[in-house]
């Protein structure tokens, strides 16, 4: 689950959205190019610290983290059992750590050796997923969707109308979710049992909700369009941004920190192999 944006007055929330966006991009790029789990762990730690300053509600991510943990274990074991990369700082990456099928199982064990190099590589892959997910979640929590739209519409090739459509569409998602839940409750109140029956039957039960769902969405979109028209949407090409962003010292520091970190990691990786396995 991605945590919804919350309006707060933390130092991270107050940052210029462009600075936050640059941090997001830099962190994702670094997490992609680094393969050493120790470095990725460090990068994750920095992201967590930024999240903590932004008062990110970690408890809400518990379910996601549990799911990712399972995925991590699976990825790590599969990588460990199937792939052995060259590890710069490891003397013998091919050393077997353990077998997926241990030796004490008669007839078939030991089989599927899990090697140290593969394990480290699997861990690195899983950490990348962790870092990217946490970074996106923290960014989404500290940056309002309208700020995201403001970033998008400031791009030279994007119009305000397109940006607004993205924003309006994102607002529709929770509305549709609530409608779907109500329709489901209404069907349950008319004797529909969603828990029983085959897959096909369940799909059939759910499909009856689609017509009212789309009809309601269309009707709502119609009223929204009328309300937008009544508030002069599209009247002028010079839509005034109500946030004429100005880079303050804190924003500049964030940009320097992000861009500097990105450049340093590329240079260190290319020249000194730092961050690589």
């Amino acid at each position: 689950m991605i945590v919804e944006y919350e309006s707060k007055q933390t130092p991270i929330h107050k940052l210029d959205p462009r600075a936050k966006f640059i941090w997001l991009v830099a962190t994702i790029v670094i997490s992609i190019i680094w393969t050493d789990p120790v470095y990725l762990l460090g990068l994750g730690l920095v992201t967590v610290i930024i999240g903590c300053i932004g008062q990110f509600p970690w408890a809400k991510m518990k379910g996601t983290f549990m799911f990712l943990l399972i995925v991590t274990v699976v990825i790590t074991l599969i990588q460990g059992a199937t792939y052995v990369p060259k590890v710069v700082w490891l003397a013998n990456p091919e050393r077997v750590a353990f077998h997926l099928i241990p030796g004490w199982i008669p007839m078939i064990g030991p089989a599927w050796p899990v090697r140290i190099g593969g394990l480290i590589y699997g861990l690195s892959m899983a950490l990348k997923v962790f870092v990217v997910l946490i970074t996106i979640s923290v960014f989404g929590y500290v940056t309002s969707p309208s700020e995201v739209v403001q970033i998008i519409v400031r791009l030279p090739f994007v119009s305000y109308k397109s940006g607004f459509v993205v924003s309006a569409a994102s607002k529709f998602v929770p509305v549709i979710q609530i409608q779907l839940a109500t329709l489901r409750d209404a069907e349950r109140s008319k004797g529909v049992d969603f828990d029983s029956g085959s897959f096909t039957e369940k799909v059939k039960k759910t499909s009856s909700m689609l017509v009212p769902l789309f009809a309601n969405a269309l009707s709502m979109a119609d009223t929204m369009a009328l309300a937008m028209e009544s508030r002069a949407f599209g009247y002028s090409k010079n839509f005034t941004m109500i946030r004429p962003y100005q880079m303050r010292v804190s924003d500049r520091l964030m940009v320097i920190f992000s861009v500097g970190g990105l450049v340093a990691s590329i240079v260190c990786l290319a020249v000194f192999k730092l961050g690589a396995l």
């Binding site: 944006y5 309208s146 209404a186 109140s189 009223t223 009328l226 002069a232 599209g234």
Partner: protein, 581 residues
């Protein structure tokens, strides 16, 4: 001659693809700074008229428009909607469909930003709109996290920030609870009286219009059938009834007692009675409605086992909001109970436990004396029927007939029995001629009746109806409530309604349950509940004006104008007899 800010002459409009005329030769002149109220049943053409004034009809909503429309010196059809937006602000009933910003501040800025004003001007306008609409402190709040009244205030602020000369409000309180309604009406009063804006208000809430509007127009089938000052229009009680407009309680009282002038406020009604400016012998008293035999049926109910019982019920939504905090309630067979309280009091959350849609985090739900906590909804629904607020969220089938079969087929009802029940229900709710029609083609009132009937078809003993009159006009509301009352009286059903409408409560409820902060904080007959001002205030409820009048005059709470007129007649006779002796 005084110049008019809105001038419509012989305006006729038909929607594209429709032969029916939504507006038929409508003429209307509105002076600058006036507050004009437009009343009428749903489908009368009120919203169409609003859209003609701001130009969305026919530029955005296509159709054929004839006649002359001049608004603030402009012809909307020629100027364009967006340009008209800075002259005419249009506010709709559902605030959720007209809030576009991620924060209140951004939403208020939306209009001025579209007009391309400078940043500084926009910020000034935001500040003023937020102050004038009393939204200070909520600037950074996400609109979807506001209360209904705050949302509508934000929507009005968004339009107000464009500084239009005319504000058209299309049923702005139709989806609000009493507190939200009071807030919005107070804002409208400010817009007109304090800020000098011309206001055109389309409404169903007649009580609030009496003192607010300078002139009132009543529409029916696309034309004005009544028009004039509130005194002139509301004096024609018969015509109002004919159109389907609820006659305000005190106006009806004045009419029933043959008052020498029509009362428009509680004070006026009291003054008329005290000064003896009435002719109570004009024997116009009719039946006072379904609530005459209230108390007898209620006493009978208390002696038997509750059909539904909530015991120390607690419930917390996944987001952490505690919606029920130890709610206790007993409902007896054959009762007609109204659950009242402001939005967020826990009314819907409580009743959704009765058919298993929600499961409590603590406490028990007993149906027919047994715990129902482990019974699934698909089993409970044949005993407890639940009708949702919005009919469009509970109609799934292609025809009216199929819609009525949907529930009974799921619960495994005998086919012959089902067909017989459906036949009777269709006749009973007046939808027999629409058997093969797609439910979406019906009017809102018909859809609401169909949604109710589709649950009644499952023959549950208990019927829970959430806000049955939202968005309906008075006649449609009465049709729904009359049907529920018939089900109770003729078929012994137990009826629970959730409502904000105290006039409906007065007329139909045998018992009222008042909720606040996830608890039941009071209950009794409507008379008992309306006699407790502290309880009413705590739950943000406002009793009908006639109750205020009778309380002041005789120290007792009467529920309907007929009851009050009856009371006056008795006391007048007594006085005359005493004087005669």
């Amino acid at each position: 001659m005084e110049p008019m800010i809105v001038s419509l002459k012989d305006v006729t409009f038909s929607y594209k693809g429709s032969k029916r005329q939504a507006l038929k030769g409508v003429s209307l002149d509105v002076k600058e700074g006036e507050c004009v109220a437009i009343l009428g049943p749903t489908g009368a053409g009120k919203s169409t008229l609003a859209c003609v004034i701001n130009g969305t009809v026919p530029r955005f909503i296509e159709g054929k428009l004839t006649g002359d429309v001049v608004v603030d010196g402009q012809v909307p059809n020629q100027v364009g909607t967006a340009q008209m937006a800075s002259r005419v602000g249009l506010v709709f009933g559902d605030p959720d469909t007209q809030l576009f910003g991620m924060t209140v501040e951004e939403d208020v800025a939306f209009g001025p930003a579209n007009l391309g004003f400078d940043y500084e001007i926009i910020m000034q306008r935001i500040k003023r709109a937020i102050e004038d609409m009393r939204l200070q402190g909520l600037e950074q709040r996400a609109p979807h996290r506001l209360s209904g009244g705050q949302k509508q205030a934000t929507a009005i602020a968004g339009v107000y920030a464009m500084l239009p000369k005319i504000m058209v409000l299309d049923e702005p309180t139709s989806m609000l609870d009493p507190e939200g309604k009071a807030r919005v009406f107070s804002i409208i009063r400010d817009l007109n009286k304090s800020f000098g804006m011309t206001v055109i208000l389309i409404e169903q809430e007649v009580d609030d219009i009496l003192e607010l509007a300078d002139r009132v127009f009543v529409m029916k089938s696309g034309e004005f059938v009544l028009g004039g000052t509130p005194k002139e229009v509301f004096a024609d009680v018969d015509e109002l009834r004919e159109v389907g407009i609820r006659v305000p309680g005190i106006v009806e009282f004045g009419n029933l007692i043959g008052a020498d002038r029509t009362p428009f406020s509680v004070e006026e009604a009291v003054s008329i009675v005290k000064s003896g400016a009435f002719d109570v012998l004009s024997d116009t008293l009719a039946s006072s409605g379904p609530n005459r035999e209230v108390d007898a049926s209620n006493e009978r109910a208390q002696d038997i086992t509750p059909i539904v019982e909530a015991v120390d019920l607690e419930f917390r939504y996944p987001m952490g909001v505690k919606a029920l905090d130890g709610a206790n309630l007993k409902i007896y067979p054959g009762e007609f109970v109204a659950i009242v309280g402001q939005n967020g009091a826990g009314k819907t959350t409580l009743t959704r436990h009765f058919n298993g849609l929600l499961r409590p985090s603590a406490g028990d739900v007993r149906l027919f004396g047994k715990s129902a906590l482990n019974e699934p909804t698909w089993k409970l629904c044949s005993k407890v029927g639940y009708v949702f607020q919005n009919p469009d969220e509970q109609l799934f089938c292609d025809t009216v007939e199929e819609e009525l079969r949907f529930g009974p087929m799921n619960t495994g009802m005998d086919k012959d029995k089902m067909e017989e029940a459906i036949r009777d229900i269709l006749l009973d709710i007046g939808l027999d001629k629409y058997r093969q029609v797609w439910p979406r083609y019906l009017t809102k009132g018909e859809r609401q009746r169909l949604a109710l009937a589709s649950v009644v078809a499952m023959e549950p003993e208990i019927l829970i109806v959430d806000e049955p009159t939202t968005g309906l006009d008075w006649l449609e509301s009465l049709q729904i409530l009359d049907y529920l009352e018939r089900l109770r009286r003729e078929k012994g059903k137990t009826i629970l309604i959730i409502t904000h409408d105290m006039n409906i409560v007065s007329l139909y409820a045998k018992r009222v349950v008042v909720m606040a902060n996830g608890r039941v904080i009071g209950e009794g007959t409507p008379r008992e509940v309306f006699s407790q001002p502290e309880l009413m205030e705590h739950a943000y409820l406002r009793r009908p004006q006639i109750a205020d009048v009778s309380d002041i005059l005789w120290g007792e709470v009467l529920l309907t104008p007929h009851e009050a007129a009856d009371r006056l007649k008795r006391s007048s006779r007594m006085n005359r007899e005493v004087a005669g002796k």
